[in-house]
Amino acid sequence: MGTVRLCPGAQPPPRIVVHNLSVSYGSVLALSKVSLQLKQGIICGLVGMNGSGKSTLFKALMGFARPSTGTICINGQSVAQAQRHQMVAYVPQAESVDWDFPLSVADVVMMGRYGSMGLLRIPRSCDYEAVRHSLERVELWPLRHRQIGELSGGQRKRAFLARALAQGASILLLDEPFNGVDVRTERLMAHLFRAFRYEQRTLLISTHDMGHITGFCDQVVLINKTVLAYGETSEVFTQENLALTFGGSVLDRSPSPYDQTNG
C-alpha cells in the first residue's frame, strides 16, 4: 500500500489533494503517479483520449477503484469520510440503472438527500425544498412525476445532475456530462456550472469539447495514464500540450482529432 500521509487540516483550500495516485485493473495500469490539487470555487476540465484514465480517476476519487499507491484527500478527509459527510457528489459517465424501475423523477432526485436524512430516510420539509430547487435548476420540475425511464437522454442526464445537486455537496465530480446531450441541455449545463463556481463549489468535469475548456474551465488537467500537464487553462491549454495529449495530429489543425464517442 502507499505511503501513509497525514491529511492537512480542514482549512478551505485546496479541496481535493491527490498525491502519487496509481490505479490498475488486474495487470492493466490505468493511472500512474497522478498528483494534483483542486482549489475551492474553480471549474477544472479533465481532458484526455478514450482510455486515458479519466473515468478511472473519478472512480478512484469516489473510492470505487482501489489505488495501488498514493493518497486522496477531500476537504482534509479520507474519501469515505467525505462521502459520509455529503461533501462529494458524483455523476458517472453512463448511468447503469434499470430505466423501468418504478420510481418517479422526484423520487430519484430525493435519493440524493438520503445521506443527510435519519436512519428511516423520512424526508423533511428541507428535503422536499432541496428536491424542488434542484429540479427547477435543471428545468425538470414540470416532469417530476414522470417515471424515470420516460425521459429523453438529455433529460435523464439532467435528472441525475439534479440528484447530485440535491445532495448539496460542495464538490461535484462529473464524468462526461455533455456526452450525448442536446444543445438545450448543453447550454443549460454550461450555465449551471458557471453558477456553481459562483457558489464557491469545486467542479471536476471530463469533456471532449475544447470549446467548453476555453469557455468556462479555470484549470485544466491533461492526462494520458498520468498527468501530462495541469494548471491554469490559459497556460496549459496550448497546442503543444494538446499534441502531447492526443498525439501529433492536433498540431496540423485537423478538425477533430479526438474521438467523440464514449470513452
Binding site: 459520509r84 458524483y90 448511468e95 418504478p102 420510481l103 435519493m111 438520503y114 445521506g115 428511516l120 430516510r121
Partner: protein, 285 residues
C-alpha cells in the same frame, strides 16, 4: 350450488384451517413484499437457489433440536457466499455457479433427510404442510415473518436505492455491503417461512410472482408494494379455501392463484399489459 356463507365460514370451525389461513396469509404477505425487491434487483434465480440451499440447514437444525430458522439462515447466506466465491475465483459464470451450488446443497439435504433419523418428513419440506403445521413451527414462522416485515419496512428506502443504483448509495456513504447482506438474510428467512407454507419446490413463486404481478400494474414503488402484498395475501387465502373445498394440494392452489393473478395482470394491465399496449400502439405509430 353451495351457499357462499357456508363456503366462507365452514373452514373456520376447524382449528387447523384457522391456523393455515393465518400462516399462509402472513407468510404470503411478507414474501410478497420481499418479492418486490427480488424482481427489481433481478434476484429471482438467487431466490430459487437460497430456498433450495436451506434444506440441509433445516434438517440439521431439526436433528439437533435447534430452531429451524437458524439452520436455514446459516445455509441460505452460506450458499450465496459460496456462489460469490466461485464466481470470483474461477471463470465459471454466475448463473452456472448458482445452479451448481443450490443443487449441491439440496442434494446434501436429501442425503441428510434419508440418513439422519429425525421427525423431519421430506414431503412436508418439499411440498409444504400448511394444514398440519406443528405449534412450535407455527410460532417460529410467524416470528420470522414479522421480523422480515420489520426489516423491509424500516430499511425500505435504502433497499430501493440499493436495488436501483448501488453506485449512488456508495457515493453518499451508505454501505451497500450491509444492504446486500440485509436483503440476503431477509431472503433466507422468508424462504424458510415460505417453505413451511408451500414447500421448497414452490417457495420461489411466493418470492417472485406477486412482485412481478405488481410490477406490471404500476410505476410507483409504494403502489407496487401494496399491490404485491394484496395479491400475496389474497392468493394465500383463496388458495387455502380452494384446497379445503376441493381437497387439492394447498401449496399448489396458493401458487396457482398467484400465477393466475400474474396472467391476468399480464393481459389486462393498463400500461404494461398486452391489451393495454395494443390500444396505445395505433396512436404511437
Amino acid at each position: 350450488m353451495m351457499d357462499i356463507v357456508t363456503w366462507l365460514t365452514e373452514p373456520f370451525q376447524h382449528v387447523f384451517m384457522v391456523k393455515a389461513l393465518l400462516v399462509s396469509s402472513v407468510v404470503g404477505g411478507v414474501c410478497a413484499l420481499l418479492s418486490c425487491f427480488m424482481t427489481l434487483k433481478g434476484w429471482a434465480l438467487m431466490g430459487d437457489a437460497v430456498s433450495h440451499a436451506v434444506l440441509p440447514g433445516v434438517v440439521i437444525a431439526y436433528a439437533l433440536g435447534l430452531p429451524f430458522a437458524l439452520g436455514a439462515f446459516v445455509f441460505g447466506v452460506g450458499s450465496v457466499a459460496i456462489i460469490g466465491l466461485i464466481k470470483q475465483s474461477t471463470r465459471v459464470k454466475e448463473d452456472t455457479a448458482i445452479g451448481l451450488v443450490f443443487t449441491g446443497f439440496f442434494a446434501l439435504g436429501l442425503v441428510l433427510v434419508s440418513k439422519v433419523r429425525s421427525s423431519v418428513d421430506l414431503s412436508h419440506i418439499l411440498f409444504g404442510n400448511v394444514l398440519g403445521i406443528p405449534p412450535q413451527d407455527l410460532q417460529q414462522t410467524i416470528v420470522i415473518a414479522v421480523l422480515v416485515l420489520l426489516v423491509l419496512l424500516v430499511f425500505r428506502r435504502d433497499l430501493i436505492l440499493f436495488c436501483f443504483d448501488p453506485t449512488h448509495a456508495q457515493s453518499i456513504g451508505i454501505s451497500t455491503g450491509f444492504l446486500h447482506y440485509l436483503l440476503l438474510s431477509s431472503l433466507s428467512l422468508a424462504a424458510v417461512a415460505g417453505l413451511q407454507t408451500v414447500g421448497i419446490i414452490l417457495v420461489v413463486a411466493m418470492l417472485v410472482t406477486p412482485g412481478a404481478t405488481a410490477y406490471l400494474l404500476t410505476d410507483s414503488f409504494l403502489t407496487m408494494g401494496w399491490l404485491a402484498v394484496a395479491s400475496g395475501v389474497f392468493s394465500s387465502v383463496v388458495g387455502t379455501y380452494v384446497s379445503y373445498w376441493s381437497d387439492a394440494s394447498p401449496a399448489g392452489c396458493i401458487v396457482l392463484v398467484q400465477t393466475l393473478l400474474f396472467v391476468a395482470a399480464m393481459v389486462l394491465a393498463p400500461k404494461h399489459g398486452l391489451l393495454g399496449r395494443k390500444t396505445i400502439r395505433p396512436f404511437s405509430r
